[in-house]
Amino acid sequence: MNPFEDPHAAAHGPDTHLEAYLDGDLSDEEIANLARQLAADPALQGELDLARAVKTLLPQLDAPLCPPEVTQAVFHTTRRWAWAERPRRLRRRLSRFVGSVWQPALGLGLVALVAVTTFLRPAPVVEAPLSQEAEVQQALAEVQWTLAYLSRVGQQAGDAVRHTVLETGVVTPVQHALGSALDEEKN
């Protein structure tokens, strides 16, 4: 038995051979056999003519359009499948990446990262350790003291300026002038 021979060919009958003949799929021997059958059977010849006419006319017909709602439904379903497939694809890629030769490189890189950040870390701005709550409270007290001091100095300076400018330069001269005027009026 020829393993490449179609076991269903005999069952398909001459129609299958006619289609195959028109498609150019028959061997020389099969073409010779078919020619003999066609010569002996006018009905078979008629079927061949019909098949040839169908094959010629079919491409000339307009292809039927798919209804828009069907197109949209297909796109929607396809997108949903693709979206649902994303995490799986990502996991596959990651596992492929991590499981490959990059694993030792990543390990080495991680070690280098820790080492480099440890050695090249900029010097801390504050000399003392900051984790102690007492130190923060002490600093807060110092800030409050500084602001209180600044406020007091500002207030005293303001009072001094007010006293110098207003009382010495304005109030006292005006009082003096008014007093002199009143004295003159009394006299």
Binding site: L108, A112, V125, Q144, Y149, G154, V161
Partner: protein
Amino acid sequence: MMKRLLCGLALVLGSVLVPNLHAQSGAYDLHADPGYVDFDRLADWFGEPARLEVNIKGALLRLVAEASRYEDPELSDMLTKVTAIQVRGFPLRRSQFETMETKADDWASTLSESGWDTIVRVRNRYEYVNMFVRTRDDAIAGMVVMVLEPGEDETIFLNIVGEIDPAQVGRIGRRFDLDLAYDSDY
């Protein structure tokens, strides 16, 4: 394969090294801040280290701001705009007053020449107060206060670096008690 491995390692090292080097080269320099004043000369003036020394800056200042956020939001907000606070306190004898007043005057002139504006100046007998602010882009970049008064704990030099509102400082400062807030060694 070895080539790929080396390339990967170089990428990892590069991504780590470049930001670190950048951070080191672009680090904030407090001494270059226009609102900063160097108090190092003061110890030479008085011939002894400061009896009161406050240096609050950087991460410690941020922590203080955060620590006070709940109880005193206004103080916290003000501190977020401040870069550093430094205070020096010295004892001053009456016999030293005139010498120190002259030094302070010279320093005040230097500050004025370098862009600091005098906002308050008070001079009485044995009392000297000078307050300066420096502005940058229409905002205060820092404040300097010099107070000279004979006594053990009356002579104070103060520098606040950062964007501050003097009125806000006065308003917030009035809430605190000088004696209770700072437990000094005087």
